[in-house]
């Protein structure tokens, strides 16, 4: 306390009112949040029964690291990850796969969507340690040898990206959809992509592009 003499001027403060962090009013740590809502988030993002080991989700302190094996875009990595890293941080900061974007870091916007064992997940809300043994596909893993997938090509032709920040997430969810349903209707696309927000509100063009990709033969 550097300025003790000013403390005499305190107003009638209710001592029962506790300090509330405005950016985290429930005083939850990120890990609390993940543990509390992880199951719902996972289900909402379309994956189930990934068998996340409970022990790995426990708080282990800032210096704690865990060895994992993970395959990303066809390349396998054995690495020690900080237990507090999210999967998005692992991809972006450690593997330099910055195509995956962080828009909200709290399972609201879908910009960070990647495919985990073929299913779309919000990588901001998966811990990196949970990816042990998993196969991950990011937007960088779509085009092969410079050849765009049909849905990427359709985004190019039909102005799928405006600012482009949500585009990687939209593409990954669309890819999962097309893998399961090669000729989706516009309604199918809207249903599947409902968890991917676009504030440019380029929704019409995105849906048209995914439908177009389906008509043109599904994802290779």
């Amino acid at each position: 306390m550097r300025d003790k003499k000013k403390q005499g001027n305190k107003p009638d403060q209710d001592p029962a009112v506790k300090y509330v962090d405005p950016l985290n009013p429930k005083q939850q740590s990120r890990r609390d949040f993940l543990e509390g809502t992880g199951a719902a988030v996972v289900a909402g993002a379309g994956i189930s029964a990934l068998g996340i080991p409970k022990a790995q989700a426990q708080s282990t302190g800032s210096d704690s690291r865990t060895a994992i094996n993970v395959t990303v875009n066809g390349t396998s990595h054995s690495m020690d990850v900080d237990d507090r890293w999210t999967l998005a941080e692992l991809l972006r900061d450690e593997l330099d796969l910055t195509g995956t974007k962080i828009g909200c870091n709290r399972s609201e916007c879908g910009a960070c969507t990647v495919l985990m064992n073929g299913q779309p997940v919000y990588s901001c809300s998966q811990l990196a340690v949970w990816a042990d043994g998993a196969t991950i596909q990011t937007v960088e893993g779509l085009a092969q040898n410079g050849e765009l997938t049909p849905v990427q090509q359709a985004f190019v032709v039909n102005n799928g990206p405006q600012c482009g920040f949500c585009t990687p997430g939209q593409l990954m969810t669309a890819t999962a959809l097309l893998n399961n349903n090669p000729t989706p209707s516009a309604e199918d696309v809207k249903e599947a992509l409902v968890g991917n927000l676009c504030r440019c509100s380029n929704y019409n063009a995105i849906v048209e592009a995914v439908v177009m990709a389906g008509e043109e033969g599904g994802v290779a």
Binding site: Q7, Q13, K101, T138, F155, R199, S201, N202, Y203
Partner: protein, 722 residues
């Protein structure tokens, strides 16, 4: 569907053809590099500590534990880093005016004491790791003396209201005088005396966060006395100038780089506090610093559209002629004035007697600022719902009433062209206005009711100074240097297409260099619907100059190049230049649960000649959808007891998702008035102006109750029907 009518226009080689963005591949493969994607050697990560209180004086701050945390490099706060953020608060909200910024009375610092809203910044930490920075921020101990706060603009002007500043809560104008903004045309008293009927109503609108997908961030890196700033700016020249002024540097000592940026819609026009905070931390730490805001910080710490209260009074004769209009209004600016607080719309009417008085007011909510057409959507909602109501009250079709009363060219004020009649009539026909609207509002039987609404607008498409450089080498490869960034509308591609057209070469022969103040000349910035017109005109001029050089000297050979630059200051010969639009929408309201569904949406716009049809189409569709969100969902609510924000974030503000989106028909009536680049006007902001007004009018037509408060959430419809 989308349709482009080009009657009487000569087809062009490049312009007018659907063209994929020149950077589309980067955008769909994850190669596009946004600010947070940069990584520099030795880069530190930074986090900001923000106020938990709506209004408080900081009694003491103790950063010793944060300082001592291993990995922490620098901690700065209001005590040891008192840097004015000039664009954060400006007299009169004049964002682009240096002398006004210098003279600003209520300055905003990068860290403030007292703090004046929940989210006001207090201190920042730079550390070797993002998580260490987060942890260090949580270790800073702050003792607050809480102060009384005020949230509503009308309440803030009461005599006994808590004072945000000692001088009171009415914001100073650009002269530093504490007075409302007044516009007084003709004689309203005489106009009201002439009227057969006078109508009055109060309208209010909410706070709409820009909510661009990319949260605010900034990467600062000093090279000696030069600052290199990677920032998601929608105006790199403005960002450089603002940052240089804030830090006491010359413009050339700051380089702003914006390769890709994730949207802005007006909240990345000037420099941001993040830029100045990152630069300050970086200078002290002697290392590059990446400052990242969380989504919640972005929601509270940046800005959104100002909430308003609008009292209208309209005098009308029995034949539908409007004789007088009056608006007395209040705009909630938060505790810092980043923009005017304007409320437009009345100017779209020709009525000769108009009085408008707007009081921009300080409150302890988060800051208000630019959002796509800053003064328009809430104003057009207010005035066009007022006029729609008047039309139905006197038994007139709102479209007829508009055609009778809308502003038209006069001898004193000519337009470069005027197509509003055609735009409105075209839209009414396409939409089947007569078939869809209910002559008696709310007349559908049963609880599920349909109705149709209409709105119209004109919006600035003025010309002004910007710059471009174009170069050609012996391989006939052209390079265009323009200081634009692409915030979504496709400016890079648009500029390339204009250059290709003017140079008479294919677009594939034109490389566009953008987004770097050290490599590109001044550009106006991607705000105010200016880039296509102003930088586009500069591109045409530079291209014409280069073509003359080629004609005079022949194509360059060997390692020679030819270069042309242009910084034109065009005029419109005293005429006003406007784009025009009309929206028609049919809704279905379930009065049992208060929900509103869009059944049909038709837009007609005249934006001059369209450069790239697909990106123009999606500017209108995207802006319309944002406007529908403003009409039906979005708002930042506060708890009146605690002053805490309740709905920051996409879910809480209930942003539209894929499943909420209707088909939107887009029709452009293309023209060339001879003033824009190949006749182009503006499209980016215009779509959002119309949607809130049209949707609210349609709801009123469906349920027979005028909805006087945006957003029209379910509770409000249920309340109106009760």
């Amino acid at each position: 569907m989308s349709e482009f009518t080009r009657e009487g226009l000569e087809p062009l080689a490049t312009i007018g053809n659907d063209t994929p963005r020149i950077d589309a591949i980067e955008r769909v493969t994850g190669q596009a590099k946004y600010t947070r994607d940069w990584k520099l050697p030795g880069m530190l990560y930074a986090k900001v500590l923000r106020s938990p209180h709506p209004h408080a004086r900081i009694v003491s701050i103790d950063t010793s534990e944060a300082d001592a945390l291993p990995g922490v490099q620098t901690v700065i706060s209001y005590e040891n880093a008192q840097v004015v953020w000039g664009a954060g608060s400006v007299n009169g909200g004049r964002q682009y005016n240096d002398p006004t910024k210098e003279a600003t009375i209520h300055r905003r610092y990068i860290f403030n004491n007292p703090v004046r809203f929940v989210g006001d910044s207090i201190a920042a930490v730079a550390a070797t790791d993002r998580h260490i920075a987060e942890q260090a921020v949580s270790l800073i101990k702050v003792e607050y003396e809480q102060l009384p706060f005020v949230l509503e603009p009308e309440e803030a002007l009461a005599d006994d209201a808590p004072q945000v500043y000692a001088e009171g809560n009415l914001c100073p104008d650009f002269r530093g005088e504490f007075a409302p903004m007044v516009s007084d045309i003709g004689d309203t008293e005489a106009g009201f005396a002439e009227a057969d009927q006078i109508f009055e109503e109060r309208y209010e609108t909410g706070f709409i966060h820009n909510a661009q997908m990319e949260p605010r961030c900034s990467l600062a890196h000093w090279q000696g006395d030069k600052l290199v700033l990677y920032s998601p700016s929608q105006g790199i020249s403005n960002c450089r100038h603002d940052t240089a002024r804030d830090l006491g540097l010359e413009d050339h000592q700051v380089q702003v780089i914006t390769k890709y940026m994730g949207g802005g819609f007006g909240n990345k026009n000037q420099n941001q506090d993040a830029d100045v905070i990152a630069a300050t931390l970086s200078r002290r730490a002697g290392a590059p610093v990446m400052l990242e805001y969380s989504r919640r910080e972005d929601w509270l710490g940046v800005h959104g559209r100002w909430p308003t209260v609008q009292y209208y009074k309209v005098g009308v004769k029995d034949d539908g002629e409007v004789t007088a209009m009056e608006l007395r209004a209040f705009s909630g600016m938060g505790p810092y004035r980043k923009n005017s607080g304007g409320i437009s719309g009345m100017d779209a009417y020709g009525c000769p007697n108009r009085y408008r008085e707007i009081s921009p007011v300080y409150t302890n909510r988060t800051t208000s600022g630019n959002f796509r057409a800053p003064s328009e959507p809430h104003g057009f909602y207010g005035v066009e719902n007022m006029m729609d109501e008047v039309a139905y009250q006197i038994g007139m079709d709102p479209v007829e009433f508009t055609l009778k009363n809308m502003r038209r060219p006069t001898e004193e004020q000519q337009f470069t062209n005027y197509t509003l009649d055609e735009v409105i009539q075209n839209g009414a026909e396409r939409f089947n206005w007569q078939g869809r609207r209910r002559v008696t509002p709310g007349s559908d039987e049963g609880p599920i009711k349909r109705g149709a609404g209409f709105s119209f607008m004109m919006f600035r498409a003025g010309v002004g100074t910007s710059s471009a450089i174009v170069r050609v080498n012996a391989n006939q490869e052209y390079t265009l240097y323009v200081g634009v960034t692409d915030i979504g509308p496709g400016a890079k591609t648009t500029m390339g297409m204009i250059a290709a057209e003017a140079l008479e070469v294919p677009l594939s022969q034109v490389e566009v260099v953008w987004g770097d103040t050290d490599r590109c000349p001044y550009s106006v910035g991607e705000s105010g619907s200016r880039t296509t017109i102003m930088t586009g005109i500069a591109v045409v001029e530079a291209a014409e100059d280069l073509k003359r050089q080629i004609a005079d000297r022949g194509m360059p050979s060997g390692s020679d190049v030819l270069i042309a630059s242009a910084s034109p200051t065009p005029t419109t010969d005293g005429k006003t230049r406007q784009c025009f639009g009309a929206h028609f929408v049919e809704v279905e309201v379930d009065t049992r649960i208060g929900s509103t569904k869009i059944l049909k949406y038709t837009t007609v716009h005249e934006s001059g000649r369209i450069i790239n049809p697909s990106t123009a189409r999606d500017q209108i569709r995207g802006a319309t959808i944002q406007g529908i969100g403003q009409a039906l969902h979005e708002n930042l609510l506060y708890d009146p007891k605690t002053g805490q924000p309740l709905t920051p974030g996409y879910y809480r503000a209930r942003h539209l998702t894929h499943k909420d989106i209707p088909d939107i028909d887009v029709h452009f009536i293309e023209t060339d008035d001879g003033y824009g680049p190949f006749g182009a006007k503006t499209a980016g902001e215009s779509g959002i102006i119309l949607a809130p007004a049209a949707v609210a009018n349609a709801v009123a037509n469906a349920i027979g109750r005028r909805m006087t408060s945006l957003p029209i959430t379910r509770d409000k419809i249920l309340g109106a029907m009760a």
